[in-house]
């Protein structure tokens, strides 16, 4: 029977058990990597670095994790912090706060446009909301905690993101 995250973390912390860590890695890394790619477009191949740093930071901070959330949520929170730091460095988005005007960032509805590309064009806050909620299945409460925003803001961002995607994609879908 699969061991719980908690049992595996206990083994890693108590004895440095590499097999236990690899089990944790294999359980959670696909989601972390997918999230990193979707939030950053894998700019400069950095999704791999984000995941690497997430595990390193997590391993430095096991003692701080109080199991009030799932391990997946906690790891994703570390990943999001890393992504925010990178965004600030890249100066693409000054913060992950709510963006209300996306009219200037609309992609052209050409043949290359698809859902992934449209998501990639969303402002950072919208993109986080739709990736975390609609793709990865986090609740608004979890997203609020992860992104340090209100639950209402998370819902608003998701709603606006969906509206934007619909607006961008409908012309294409209505002709196919």
């Amino acid at each position: 029977m699969d061991q719980s995250d908690r049992e595996l973390v206990t083994r890693v912390v108590a004895t440095g058990d590499e097999a236990a860590f690899r089990a944790l890695y294999q359980r959670h890394t696909p989601t972390l990597y997918r999230t990193a790619v979707r939030l950053t477009d894998d700019r400069d191949g950095t999704a791999e670095d984000f995941v690497h740093d997430t595990w390193i930071r997590a391993s430095e901070r096991w003692a701080e994790f109080e199991w009030r959330s799932s391990l997946r949520t906690w790891l994703t929170g570390i990943l999001l912090n890393r992504v925010r730091e990178a965004r600030r460095r890249w100066a693409r988005q000054p913060t992950d706060e709510l963006v209300t005007d996306i009219s200037t960032d609309c992609p052209e509805p050409d043949d290359r446009l698809d859902l992934e590309a449209a998501v990639a064009k969303l402002p950072a806050g919208y993109r986080s909301a739709i990736v975390l909620h609609d793709v990865e299945g986090f609740s608004h409460e979890e997203i609020a905690s992860l992104c340090s925003i209100d639950v209402g803001t998370s819902k608003s961002q998701l709603s606006r993101a969906r509206r934007a995607l619909r607006r961008w994609l409908e012309p294409r879908w209505s002709t196919t």
Partner: protein, 172 residues
């Protein structure tokens, strides 16, 4: 999917930091089971005889976890004591399988303490004034205080609002 090289990259980094070590030698399951069966009633029904620590664990620092209960402690409802026994036992057995458990037992009612005024045994339910009763202990191995704290944090005792003192043990 993440690149295949990523797993090796991360585990290499964690080994270099001393976070990961080769997996400890496992105690055969039959041995663990035999020892546990021989431990009359196991934890909360007597002394928990842990399997001998793995070779790697012998040189690892040892820590005493002292389990305290005070008025905040949420003890078992009448008739549910066995659930608590099973819960603590599962936790201890997990540590035992990892080679991280050296010893552990419930401290049952009775006994008392001596003060500096004399050698007379003073019976008291509150062994440590202001801190509640010490109702059990575990001796574990962990590479450092943070690791010992993480092990303690995984204990069901905290879920029941007990408290745990973590003290390093000197060489015996």
């Amino acid at each position: 999917m993440p690149p295949a090289r990523l797993e090796a990259r991360i585990t290499d980094a964690l080994r270099a930091r001393g976070v990961l070590r080769p997996s400890p030698r496992r105690i055969p399951l039959w041995h663990t089971a035999a020892l546990l069966a021989a431990s009359a009633g196991a934890f909360f029904l007597g002394r928990l005889t842990a399997p001998s620590p793995a070779t790697d664990a012998v040189s690892t620092p040892r820590w005493m976890l002292l389990l305290y209960e005070d008025d905040q402690f949420e003890g078992p409802a009448p008739g549910r004591e066995a659930d608590y026994v099973a819960e603590y036992r599962r936790w201890a057995q997990t540590l035992g399988r990892q080679g991280a458990l050296v010893d552990g037992a419930e401290l049952v009612p009775g006994g008392g303490w001596l003060d500096s005024a004399g050698a007379e045994l003073v019976e008291s339910e509150r062994e440590v004034p202001g801190a509640g009763r010490i109702t059990g202990y575990f001796v574990i191995t962990a590479p450092n205080a943070d690791s010992a704290a993480a092990v303690a944090a995984s204990s069901p005792h905290l879920l029941h609002r007990g408290r745990i003192a973590i003290k390093p043990l000197g060489a015996s």
